[in-house]
């Protein structure tokens, strides 16, 4: 059979629906559906993957025993560690460092710089990464970073917007730290030489984000994370802080009495392990999109597999808010090559409207993410007003041509070059045609609990960035997580620097905690061959896997 004929990237039958979108476009230009009332929000949220029946169970071991969470996450917490004491020789230490940082996204890299800035010598810091330094969610952030700097904005407003969006579950002291440090972080980025979008008069271009009451979003075209990360990594490299790549941490080490004292790294190419001894350890491993919770596609990078939460739980750290998962309303649903990829919220804040197959605008474009995503699921699976792709996915239109109608010709090329480029590769011109979208798994709302300095409930262990929990409550607002990584990366760097200065006890390295963990698993009657952390997802073809043998073992 011949391949399906495409016109401007879309098959004929999808073109028919696009026609309807075109017909209603000018009418919709000045019309925005009203925002939901709190009751309406509550109702539509029943369709959210977090609340729809199934998908969850109760955790049966550890400090959070009894808490409810996604099955995919609990499967990893209720799994056996990758290594035990008999597998490794802990008396042979490869790296002895003051501060070990695990994960080099924005959070880990910022932590390294600020530990150095706070007086720790570069040689006493070690940044380790699973893949390359930069294969991270950080580099993919598109939309922007929040900071309440404009005169009509305030820390109070930023706090209120965030806690309302987080369903009032946010931890007040860490949230206060987030909003408090935000303007300083923007200032720091400028000093490092980051190029943030400006108006003619030199003011920042500040955009709406879903759930904000003020325009507060600072962006760098639609490459915000790329620009922030590139600059911070360049600064990190200029300081010549030691960094090793392709060395995931497979287990933390403790002194046997509850203090973290290092980690076991694993060369992902050769299989050799390395032992690190450290006075303070910062986990900055990011999120868990690659677990494909509830079977959703994801926006996350390849290594987003929840490792940090698993490692922290092994040593007894307390978690929080792991029951909620953020699905971004606008993931690409077509073409198949880019399914799940993010289409930034900034498209909607710049005028793109969600529209159903009949060309009707059906929802306020900037509801909080969980509400907006639920309304798309409703439109597709309850009202049956979605468009089905050739591969059977459903989606609704995001009417991107409205952006230029509202902001003038040339606006898309200037503000969304990344998006243009991505669709161009599949012959779709987003200036002329809408794009098909459906919710995609985006962000780990909860994680390891901390104090305002990134300190966990376990001595010697800090966390920063997406791996942490508390600051975003049960739902993160756009632009608050790149901010979170830099605020708490910096704070963790400063706090660990302080800690190591006054800490000279001899450190014992053990895997006692894995013994205890295994005992808990056995006591809870968990019989499984699951092991965690998983480090990477597996997308290999099933036919190949069925015929795979290993002759070197």
């Amino acid at each position: 059979m011949a391949e399906m004929k495409l016109i401007g990237g879309y098959p004929e039958y999808m073109r028919k629906s696009i026609k309807k979108v075109e017909e209603t476009r000018m009418k919709r230009k000045d019309y925005t559906p009203p925002a939901f009332t709190p009751e309406e929000q509550k109702e539509v949220l029943q369709l959210h993957p977090d609340f729809a029946p199934g998908g969850k169970r109760k955790l049966s071991i550890g400090p959070n025993k009894g808490d409810v969470g996604p099955i995919e996450v609990l499967d990893l917490l209720e799994a056996y560690p990758l290594i035990e004491e008999k597998d490794v020789n802990l008396s042979n230490i490869d790296f002895s460092t003051e501060i070990l940082i695990i994960g080099g996204g924005l959070a880990g890299t910022t932590a390294a710089i600020w530990a150095n800035e706070s007086g720790v010598k570069t040689k006493d810091i070690l940044l380790t990464n699973k893949l390359r330094h930069g294969d991270a969610n950080s580099i993919m952030a598109e939309g922007g970073t929040q900071a309440a700097d404009r005169p009509n904005d305030s820390l109070f407003r930023h706090y209120l917007d965030t806690i309302g969006g987080g369903h009032y579950a946010n931890k007040p002291d860490v949230l206060n730290a987030l909003v408090n440090d935000a303007p300083f972080i923007i200032q720091w980025l400028l000093k490092l030489g980051a190029i943030i979008d400006r108006e003619e008069n030199g003011d920042f271009v500040e955009k709406w984000g879903g759930g904000t009451s003020v325009r507060r979003l600072h962006s760098c075209r639609d490459y915000t994370g790329l620009e922030e990360f590139r600059v911070i990594r360049d600064e990190f490299r200029n300081r010549e802080i030691p960094c090793i790549e392709h060395y995931p941490t497979v287990e933390l080490l403790t002194n046997g009495k509850g203090r973290v004292t290092g980690a076991v790294l694993w060369n992902i190419e050769t299989g050799e392990y390395k032992i690190v001894k450290s006075k303070a350890t910062i986990l900055a491993t990011g999120g868990f999109g690659r677990l494909h919770i509830r079977g959703f596609p994801t926006t996350n990078h390849y290594g987003a597999t929840c490792d940090g939460v698993v490692l922290a739980y092994h040593v007894g750290a307390k978690l929080r808010d792991i029951d909620t998962v953020q699905y971004h309303p606008t993931g690409a649903a077509y073409p198949i090559q880019i399914v799940g990829y993010l289409l930034t919220e900034k498209l909607r804040s710049s005028g793109a409207q969600p529209v159903n197959k009949d060309g009707e605008a059906f929802v306020f474009p900037l509801e909080p993410r969980d509400v907006e995503a639920s309304s798309f699921i409703k439109e597709c699976y309850v009202k049956e007003k979605g468009i089905t792709t050739p591969t059977g996915l459903r989606g609704i239109w995001l009417d991107t041509p409205l952006i230029e109608i509202k902001n003038g010709d040339g606006y898309i090329d200037k503000a969304f070059p990344g998006m243009r480029r991505m669709y161009n590769r599949f012959d779709i011109d987003i200036r002329k045609d809408p794009v098909l979208v459906f919710p995609t798994l985006h962000y780990q709302n909860g994680g390891v609990e901390t104090d305002p300095w990134g300190k966990t409930s376990v001595e010697g262990l800090w966390v920063a960035g997406e791996v942490s929990g508390g600051v975003h409550g049960k739902n993160r607002l756009m632009g608050n997580s790149t901010l979170d990584t830099m605020v708490f990366g910096r704070r963790a760097g400063i706090s660990t620097a302080e800690y190591v200065k006054n800490n000279n006890t001899t450190l014992k390295l053990t895997l006692e905690h894995t013994k205890k963990y295994i005992k808990q698993l056995k006591d809870a009657g968990i019989k499984t061959d699951r092991r965690a952390p998983i480090l990477l997802p597996d997308y290999r073809g099933k036919a190949v896997l069925a015929r795979m043998i290993d002759v070197f073992q």
Partner: protein, 251 residues
């Protein structure tokens, strides 16, 4: 698809080729690609990255974001019967029949070490750290190699002239994949040069807006402490009320 399944299961079912890997039995159109010379039959709809996974490769290098941002999956390829050597990102390039390909997951390139706060904002900063920039022979190979379709040669020339604005703007979408440097006959490291140019431009061209300076100072002086302590202690009920009464800035 089973109509009786609940909504979540229907969604998961429709996305399974993306979340668990492609199943050969769902595929109609196939092409042959040659990974480092060896032939594999792969679904025509896949990218180089997902096609290689389909063929059995589990990546531990040469992949990162999977979405065209991180520059980890640089690939060079040639199509059967074509003399042209092409470049692309494995996660962003669709497979084509008769593609011979290899990944370049790492480019050995020297990055200069500098302190951005101590550089002079003129062309000397570039010349001092990357003197080889003067060796550019304007062959335009870098531009042709760039998977982001950037005018690489132009930004190099701009940097050489000390035109930071142009160098920064033209190179802004660079994902630092290294393909330009791997191809350059004069052995320049275009993307590191661009990084220096952008940081110079960002730092020295744009003064901090006054309102930002003012806000940071207010925070330092503790101007908002009282207000923040109060809201940190607010009950959920109070917060719900405050949230509902928020005034939205007009568009």
């Amino acid at each position: 698809m089973n109509k009786k399944m609940n909504i979540m299961d229907r969604i998961a079912d429709s996305a399974k080729s993306v979340t668990t890997g492609v199943d050969a039995k769902d595929i109609e159109h196939w092409v042959t690609i040659y990974v480092m010379g060896r032939a594999y039959e792969v679904p025509a709809d896949l990218t180089i990255l997902t096609a290689m996974e389909f063929a059995g490769y589990k990546f531990v290098r040469g992949v990162g974001c999977r979405q065209g941002f991180c520059g980890a999956c640089s690939t060079i390829y040639r199509k059967k019967g074509d003399y042209k050597l092409q470049t692309g990102m494995a996660c962003q390039t669709r497979v084509e029949d008769g593609m011979y390909l290899v990944q370049i997951p790492f480019v050995p390139a020297e990055k200069a070490i500098y302190d951005i706060s101590k550089e002079s904002y003129d062309v000397n900063a570039i010349l001092k750290h990357y003197p080889e920039i003067a060796r550019c022979v304007s062959c335009n190979t870098c531009t042709k190699a760039c998977p982001q379709d950037l005018e690489v040669m132009d930004y190099v020339q701009a940097a050489l002239k000390g035109d930071f604005k142009k160098a920064a703007e033209e190179s802004f979408d660079c994902i630092q994949c290294g393909l330009c440097a791997a191809r350059c006959p004069s052995e320049l490291v275009q993307y590191h040069i661009a990084q220096l140019a952008r940081r110079m431009y960002g730092r020295y061209e744009f003064p901090e807006p006054d309102y930002l300076k003012k806000r940071v100072k207010e925070i330092d002086m503790g101007k908002f402490n009282k207000e923040m302590e109060k809201i940190m202690k607010a009950s959920k009920k109070e917060l719900v009320k405050l949230y509902a009464e928020r005034e939205r800035e007009s568009d």
